[in-house]
Symmetry: D2
Subunit: 436 residues, 4 copies
């Protein structure tokens, strides 16, 4: 650990209680993707108060670049909820309607541009309420039924705000520009594209993203760096529009969306596997029909495909779209496909990965783990990474490993809050190293 | 038309305004099967006030003979709604919990027993609200969102109550017993069995049922009698209980209820047709899964099969159950089948059919139509018919034909209220003829 | 029975041994549709020898009107077989290549044109060889392995030739024209169209066809006449042409015809039933793939649809074609559909039906049965019927009922040869009656 | 290259013409798995003539351990063919009936036991006959229609016999035992198990297998060694036995094997992918039904599953069997599953792999390639490897790389015959090294 490392550690550890309080407040008020209106308004408030140049709402998210945005009606209901739950009134209006991204910019003269990315949305998972679940026991479990920060994004936001505070204090020692990007709707890989489309990653030299990791057996907190590889994925909804008919009198007059949907389901799963690449497909939900004795006129399927290469994912997407369309055609129900999310698969820049490991270990005194392979699952951080690397910049996506209760995306999920301090140390330390 | 006919016609026509008012009130407050608590309580009130011996609730419906009863929670919500919509407080408690049958008995000494059946439930169809829809224009369209008397059961109840009034006035001329049976939950063929199971058709010599019929082109009101044949049917729900898993990381750990459901859908429709008999099958609704990236753990299908003979329907039911179970077994999701409704197919007694035609034409002065074949669709009147005929009694199910706006089961459905008068004439006239 | 009847009966009964010998020879040498080269050449020989004006081969069958013609290779093999089995050398050349229709014309001055139709092909059914099967016991069972006259067409041909002989003897008493049409490839409803397309039914006033009928319990030989109604049907083959690939290394490079075929099968059966009409669909055979570890590149399905009305059959055909094409599109295998047979559903002309019954009973002294409904199954006699009736002519298709061993299309099928005599009496008697 | 290497190279190169002649004879007479009766009899003859202790037929292959053996009828036909094609009369009787394994043993006193494995069967691939295909041009292309040595097993046998000759010449320098195992039916992974079951690998210390490899671009012949890993696989046939019925009259009386088969196909492909392991499934062939208008009573499917771990393959097999059985149950057709082949996935012993590379490069002067990952595809060499390694022995499966015309398993496949010499050098050199 060097001097800088010591200074950062001391400062970050001194913020511990503040970080914990912030995280627990966010955990208590989880919000789904594009509905993070309380969250975003409070982030904007805080960054403004800290002295950042702040972008909010339509200035952050390109309207047409957003994917999987809920209906207007839901957005309005969520707006009212956010207001009732203590959103900042000034910024709430700006994020209304599903424009819940926030960017804080700190300009420190000449030098590279470093972007740090923090995702802010929660999951449609009901939170455990038993005494064995710490957030419930301590009274900060979700107050929004069916919604939970079960993926640690509450910690990500907290780390982002803690990082914002410390960097502002150390700004005299930085040479270049810092962009703190708070991204909505990571779940379902729906939000990153709108920020990249808006141009916020243009001209960025380094981009860093981190995700909480670990499990009940994780013995020691550590920063883990692998090759960053995540699965490319496409999320889409299929709609079949048929025609109802009385199922007893005249089924031949109907157009049976149920048959189209069932045919699509079987054939989507039946897309032949790749010989060389890993692929996945899932039909997660299917809702069809209105009554037992009526030919089902409408069906909706929520689908995703994945691939461990962009080509494999593209192959799956093309095959899946062909299946979807042919199944509709078969039963004369047409086929409407709506893109609901997308992420590519990317790799970390080896130089930056090595630098993160070296800085964390040698300068910041954190335990480090070299991880094999990539993060499992999909991440729309890939949009950030792809844009920066294609400009000649570097990207690293790392894991902030702590002991976690329960698996990710589970009602029992919780995390050791030491990760909040470690996260701040890592982001601040790396930013200082890159902008020294 | 003979003297009796003239007298009945005059009396019935004199009740016209009263009948229209009654029907429009019922139309305004439609209630789904087993939830007809306002309706049933008001029927019981009215029969009591007219002087009938009245059976209500658990005295009418055998508890285990009921099929497709909603959850307790829904029944309680509907109970509160019925109370708020003016249910009769005395009888409301008796019909609470989904025991919504009512029987009025009039004993007039020695003689045969005649049962008249009136079904009372509405459909899950939202009523049209435009000016071109008479009930909306006249202000008596449904006030219960998503529920509508779109099958004319409001008229059936009204005819039943009008018949009750007239028969009471003419009781001195009757020799025998009249049973007016107001049956819940005909839609989905769920209610008749519970009344027959309770024994109310035991000892009945004649049973009559009528259904509104006609279409926009029906020129002249008439009573139509065919062979009464309806399709035998079985209604059932299929539940698959699988196991969720992350669709990207470990789909192999899940048990995929979506695949079970899709396989069931395709194979249910694919049950080979009969060479000799007419059969039908429909999967009306399917709901499966909770999230795009989760292996669907649960699926529910609402299904019906039909046959134009009991054997054909039984063949379909057995094949369908086998398909359902094997599809669940295939994907290790088990298979729970819940019986939700059933009706057999029966035929009118030729003697009674001929007598209805003759009495209506010659004694009552009504236009009559001899119809080919049976009523299309299914009807749990079959339970009444079957029980009475198996005891050596006679049954006739006839059509009360008037001009109708829109098809049955449609948001635009309405009927010419002259049918109310004709219905009363027919039931009263036939009862007098049978108990003379 | 009148004088004419007596004369015809006596003559026909006098031919009994000749008829039996003829039928047994034909039974011994059964030939599949379009391969009836021995049969057709011998028919042409016989008609010529009797003095008829004879049309053979391409003069009878329109080339493009033929459906389901075997490959050239098979036709050549069958040509050599026919030659070896005693075909008439003169006519064999004319029927070579699958032009196996024969027409004999007898012109007797002014008067109506009467066409009599006899179908001549056998079935791909292996004949029973046990002692309990009379043809085997008597030594005239099929000598062509896997081929059998299991539908009685050997009797039809024999009756046609017997009729030819008698009519020639009685030609002085006829006023008009007789056309004896020997049609190939009735099995699979493949042959009639080519004869009608050639114009041979143009200008025909009356057309008669008969089919052997009966079962082991048929007590008394009789002529049966119903409404003649047969099911409309379309027979077609589906071919999917995909692309092979190693199933272990690179299945993603293949185009999977197996998946296209399986999807087609399930969805063809799953075409929703009609509410009003009877329909059928069958995928009788499916052959796909070349090896266990290769993605199947080719699949062939033999399919038929039926309907008890032309509209119902057309609905089925359109839906089935759409299913077939979409299933191919879904897996990128294209879809080739080849029409292999077709028949409409027609009804007998009531006047001619009544006349057949009356003539058979009153003039010819045959037992008669008025049958309910139509013949079950499909028959391309419908092409003859349709053409003649659309010109204002009359058609009747009747049953020649005798005791039969085993069901039709079965290895054990055999028929009481008294039907040969009765068939001749009926055709000759009716022709005399129509051309008197 | 050391002295031994030089000596072996000189000897092997001196045999070149003999090796080429041998391989071309074998190539001309390819035989499918379990039918290699000419081949096996000639191997036994040669080993006997060389002075080996020879085991043949039932002494080599355990009867019940054989998988995917053809019908008796085919075996007899092949026996007659083999006789006609010059099989050795003495040994032909011993290999009759599908017992086509041969083992030659050379005992040289105390020391380890080394087993060398050579597979001997050909593929059901028709050989190219054009002038651009060297075997055709040179006159040694397959004379058995539809059968071809398209996987290089002709070279394997030749190498085995060449190795036998050289080792016998050098026997004085060997200390231990050599077992030359000529295995039938490797294609379809059907033969190895029967030899291992018979105990021939018990007590073996080292086992070596080699396979020809390379492609049209392979510049330089070389010996390649990777981790030897192959895919675990299970090959099986599914039979459905339903009941025929006339598809137009009474399809409801049939039991539809076509529907069972189509349901199985779709659901086999639809088995959800693994998150962690590579898996495959293929339905390579499907044959169902006998006629267009008959409900298909019989269906047969040839299926395989694979996994890149034993557990993944077992998961696939269990799921696939469950799908197969449930599909049969669904349509009341039962389900018969016949195991046709199986192989596990194994890894090379690192010590022996390193030794092969070192010996080939340093002692024998061959080019060597360290290959990444395993051989693609499946190999029942895994049975040998598994047995030897489980006893504490070592196994190595290497590639004999030469320029090849056309891909493996293709009609155009051919190989550079220099591989024959290199193969002999490698096997002899390794044996000498292991038994020095």
């Amino acid at each position: 650990m060097d001097e800088l490392g010591k200074e950062i550690r001391t400062a970050a550890e001194g913020m511990r209680e503040e970080l914990v309080a912030c995280r627990r407040d966010l955990h208590h008020y989880p919000e789904l993707g594009w509905c993070e209106m309380r969250t975003a308004s409070l982030i904007a408030r805080r960054l403004t108060d800290l002295g950042y140049e702040v972008l909010v709402g339509r200035d952050v998210c390109d309207e047409t670049g957003r994917m999987g945005v809920p209906d207007e009606e839901i957005l309005e209901r969520e707006y009212r909820r956010a207001a009732a739950e203590g959103a900042d009134p000034e910024f709430l209006e700006q994020v209304r309607g599903g424009f819940t991204g926030v960017i804080g910019i700190l300009r420190c003269g000449e030098g590279p541009v470093v972007a740090l990315r923090f995702d802010i949305d929660a999951l449609p998972v009901p939170e455990a309420q038993g005494e064995d679940h710490l957030p419930a026991r301590e009274g900060f479990a979700s107050c929004n039924p069916g919604v939970m920060h079960a993926c640690g994004h509450d910690a990500h936001i907290t780390i982002g705000l803690g990082t914002a505070k410390l960097l502002m204090q150390m700004k005299n020692r930085l040479h270049g520009t810092v962009k703190l990007i708070f991204q909505p709707a990571e779940e379902g890989v729906r939000g990153a594209k709108s920020i990249v489309d808006k141009g916020h990653l243009d001209g960025v030299d380094y981009v860093l993203g981190g995700h909480m990791g670990g499990n009940p057996d994780t013995a020691e907190p550590a920063i883990g760096v692998g090759n960053g590889n995540t699965l490319a994925t496409t999320k889409f909804d299929i709609y079949y529009h048929g025609k109802p008919a009385h199922a007893g009198f005249c089924p031949e007059l109907g157009k049976n969306a149920m048959l189209a949907a069932a045919t699509a389901v079987l054939n989507l799963y039946a897309i032949p596997r790749h010989g060389a690449a890993g692929t996945q497909v899932n039909v997660g939900t299917l809702h069809a029909g209105t009554g037992r004795n009526v030919v089902a006129a409408e069906a909706k399927l929520e689908v995703e495909v994945r691939g461990n290469s962009a080509a494999a994912n593209r192959h799956m997407q093309e095959y899946a779209f062909r299946v979807a369309r042919a199944a509709g055609e078969m039963h004369d129900c047409g086929c409407e496909i709506r893109l609901m999310g997308a992420a590519d698969c990317t790799e970390n820049s080896p130089e930056l990965s090595a630098r993160v490991l070296q800085v964390c270990r040698d300068r910041l005194g954190l335990s480090c783990v070299e991880m094999k392979g990539g993060a499992s699952g999909s991440e729309d951080y890939s949009y950030f990474s792809e844009r920066v690397r294609s400009q000649g910049g570097q990207s690293c996506y790392f894991s902030n490993l702590v002991r976690c209760a329960g698996p990710f995306h589970n009602s029992q999920f919780d995390l050791d809050e030491v990760g909040l301090v470690n996260g701040v140390i890592t982001f601040v330390g790396m930013t200082c190293d890159l902008l020294k």
